[in-house]
Homo-oligomer: 245 residues x 2
Amino acid sequence: MNTEKITSVHNARVKAWNALHTKKGRDEAHLFLVEGEHLVEEALKENILKTLIIDRECPFDFDHIIEVTPEIMKKISQNVSAVHMIGVCEIKEKKVGDADRVILLDGVQDPGNLGTMIRTAVSFGFDAVYCSNDTCDLYNDKVIRSTQGALFHIPIIRKDLSGHITALRNDGFRIVATTLEHSKTMSEIPNEGRLAFIFGNEGNGVSKAIQQASDERLRIEMEGFESLNVAVAAGIIMYHYQRNL
Amino acid sequence: MNTEKITSVHNARVKAWNALHTKKGRDEAHLFLVEGEHLVEEALKENILKTLIIDRECPFDFDHIIEVTPEIMKKISQNVSAVHMIGVCEIKEKKVGDADRVILLDGVQDPGNLGTMIRTAVSFGFDAVYCSNDTCDLYNDKVIRSTQGALFHIPIIRKDLSGHITALRNDGFRIVATTLEHSKTMSEIPNEGRLAFIFGNEGNGVSKAIQQASDERLRIEMEGFESLNVAVAAGIIMYHYQRNL
């Protein structure tokens, strides 16, 4: 085990790590940060952990550890409560294998919503998450925190959605856009075959062009006239369309 | 119409409004803030709007308007994007009427989760939300934003949950705690009679004492072994247990 020590907050490494809090910094370095033991362990299992930053004894074996002061840890961490372990991880898209349940996100803006939808997709055995180019960045701290580690268990891929809808349809997927207008209820769209569900932006929903490119329009039946948070809507639909329910 | 003008950020009113960003300040003044036209209009309809703070022309009639500079507006607002209208509202609990679907929140900590669950409860026609004393404050800016105005459409009441469970049971409610352990699935608990669902803290779930005080334990069937975000779990359960589904 090879442990370096950094004691100055002005150290160039500290600056470089903090640059990973911005999308630009992450894209340039092809790295992102995860905070706390649970996420670090998940990153380790996935073989993407490059450097482990700690401010106390390390509970597991890893060959590239950098010890820092609690002050430096606090400077790097985005958590409100104290964190003692931050992992620097490589950005690496997982490959999509055999898939028959996927979701497409069309301009989801809120990091908490994106992270929550990824977590739900893993819980209900979905096979992939495709994000439009204007969906918020996956490696944002708040997204990662909201996934609770689920981001390591599913391929999450940035795509031009219009083009990808065609590709999915050619692969036998039925493309289902979620929207209130001219839509069917869940009991009218059977849970069979390959299914791709599209969820839209918090304010505007699924864009018109993407709705028109879809095979079906789906809504959630409700008593009131309120709208649902997109992550809640996605949860209800993914629950219903689990493979083996 | 009686319009005052404030031009100094050091004005005592500005300080008093900013104090409403803390729970202590809200509790003392018995007031809270809502930002943006949509929420202000909802507050107006509910007859709880006391003062309207604006930095441009007011699009509707109201008899207590205070005009401020954009600089002051920015100082009061908690929104990332610019807001031109903030309402100072009276804290006033709605009364629970005839109820047969209610939710109980046992230590929900995240403001976004609380707000989202309130929004979902209104969408699915639930009649009341009861919050334990350690659930986060309802009048937190982030909670209000996440409700999207739904907080004005349902009674939300702070209660000691143990005592309230007994009261609900005496009123003929079946008390259903959500938990993975020793639990039934939704198909095993029929959607009939009066039902009260309990959702728990993000990290720890429903507390043991509250679970033991319940009549049923309910889980959401899923393929994976992941957990769900509590607002997503609540959404799936409230969707399923709508009165008229």
